[in-house]
């Protein structure tokens, strides 16, 4: 079972739909989900959301990110939460990004395996990861954002600033498939 943590994204239910289309049963849970429930999942996807990692309460999620060892995929706010929790730096970006953004792949790693060197992705954010946590590899960047994707394969942590779940992001399903293969 894939647990999809709803942090208030417009696209949380679309993540659920994409998992189903890929043959994986997902369940949407609220942000205040109990640690025991997270621990019982095969993998966890953290959705985006309108809040900020420095201002909001994420309940048992930071502890889970630090110690679980389960495959976790962070999307948008989820990406920022992983970075913030593990000692990286999340700041308000110089420029916001909404709509289409050209993502340039620097190294495919596990998450972007099989993808073209650059592709159009759909984004909707102002905050961004300025400094990654130790042990993470940056996989891609765009004109306005240095870390569009990052991963720490040893800890099974993967994250993207853009939204792989929406139809307009090219190869989005392939990225989710690459993640689900870690389960």
């Amino acid at each position: 079972m894939i647990l999809i943590v709803d942090m208030g994204s417009q696209y949380t239910h679309v993540i659920w739909r994409t998992c189903r289309d890929l043959g994986q049963e997902g369940r949407i849970v609220p942000k205040a989900v109990a640690r025991a429930e997270l621990d019982a999942a095969d993998a966890v996807i953290l959705s985006g959301g309108p809040s900020s990692v420095t201002k909001d309460d994420f309940h048992s999620l930071p502890g889970f990110i630090k110690t679980s060892g389960k495959p976790i995929l962070g999307i948008c706010l989820g990406h920022q939460l992983i970075a913030h929790t593990l000692g990286g730096k999340v700041v308000k970006g110089k420029n916001a990004e909404y709509g289409v953004s050209r993502v340039e792949v620097d190294r495919p790693g596990v998450l972007l395996e099989g993808l073209p060197a650059s592709f159009n992705a759909w984004v909707s954010h102002f905050d961004e990861v300025q400094r990654m946590p130790a042990g993470f590899a940056s996989l891609a960047h765009s004109d306005t954002c240095a870390h569009e994707a990052m991963e720490c394969v040893g800890k099974k942590l993967f994250s993207v600033q853009f939204h792989p779940e929406v139809w307009h992001t090219e190869n989005g399903e392939r990225m989710l498939e690459n993640f689900l293969r870690q389960v």
Binding site: D21, G23, G49, V166
Partner: protein
């Protein structure tokens, strides 16, 4: 395991039976693919214990009530048309704020449905609500992008229980179900039309006069884009329409100064309405649309084409 329409149809019919029991239901029909699919599912589940009601809000497209009635009767669904336009216009008078407009419309719809439900002896209201409707209406930590009339626009108190068999589906999945149910193409492939109708295509205050302008402009956009698509000049967009801005600008007509309204033409490409990009319409098609709108509608002095994606904008203007 992509979306399985047959499995969905079976589960939906059982769940409608389970919620309505041996009672009766009415269903709000707009003529779009969502409510049409919900109506056919209800007919399968409840037989004659469901009554289909089309509310003419006065904010419909050109000839909409007549077209919808004919289209659905070809699909085997009988529809009762209720003309409630006077009530909608008077309730909306003087209101400019988009969220309050949507709430007024949601409330008006329910008051009409309550009356119809009472007449038919129904305790349930079936709606063709789909996922983006409740997602964008907010709740559960999500911001309210817009209160969809059938979700966030519902009044607190209503004398009917809701039944929403399509809640977890998106537009492209509803179309798959429509095809599996054997609905004609004119319904299964019909472009989306918002529940509040032309109200969300009139920025600011709504008047019957403005509704007439935007109705005419929408008809021109539909005619021209459909004709151009037929000739292979473009792929028919996912949704395409005109909207009216309250802003007036200066022009010159027949050597005389004019000071008229602005119409926005919008056409987007999407799968599920959750994200969208503006369509690339050939300039000669845009030119024809602009010329027709300004020539056929004296009240319009300028035509713009909307080149914003979703996000940051939404498909409709309000």
């Amino acid at each position: 395991m992509p979306f399985n329409a047959e499995k969905f149809i079976g589960a939906a019919v059982s769940s409608i039976r389970a919620s309505v029991g041996d009672g009766k239901a009415i269903i709000g029909i707009s003529g779009g693919v969502d409510s049409s699919v919900a109506a056919v599912l209800c007919a399968r589940a409840l037989g004659r214990r469901v009554d289909c009601v089309f509310v003419d809000t006065g904010l419909m497209r050109k000839d909409e009530a007549r077209l919808v009635k004919a289209m659905l009767s070809r699909a085997g669904v009988g529809v009762k048309v209720v003309d409630a336009s006077a009530g909608f216009f008077s309730a909306l008078e003087g209101e400019e704020e988009p969220e309050r407009k949507r709430k007024i419309i949601g409330e008006r719809f329910i008051r009409v449905f309550e009356k119809e439900a009472k007449r038919f002896g129904a305790k349930f209201l079936v709606q063709g609500t789909i996922a983006p409707d409740w997602i964008e209406s907010g709740g559960g930590g999500r911001d309210t992008i817009k209160s969809h009339h059938n979700v966030g626009g519902l009044p607190d108190k209503m004398g009917m229980k809701l039944c929403e068999p399509l809640r977890d589906l998106y537009k492209h999945e509803v179309r798959v179900v429509a095809r599996a149910l054997g609905l004609p193409q004119e319904i299964s492939e019909r472009q989306p039309f918002p529940g509040p109708g032309l109200a969300v295509r009139i920025v600011g205050e709504i008047t019957p006069g403005k509704a007439a302008i935007v109705r005419g402009a929408c008809a021109i956009v539909e005619e021209e884009l459909e004709a151009a698509a037929k000739k292979g000049k473009l792929e028919l967009p996912w949704q395409y329409f005109a909207a009216l801005l309250p802003t007036r600008t200066v022009g010159v007509r027949g050597d005389e100064r004019s000071y008229q309204y602005t119409v926005v033409v919008r056409a987007v490409r999407s799968l599920d309405g959750m994200t969208a990009n503006f369509s690339h319409i050939p300039p000669e098609v845009l030119q024809k649309i602009s010329t027709r709108i300004t020539n056929e509608m004296r009240e319009v002095g300028r035509v713009l084409y909307d080149i914003t994606n979703k996000p940051p904008s939404t498909v409709e203007l309000e």
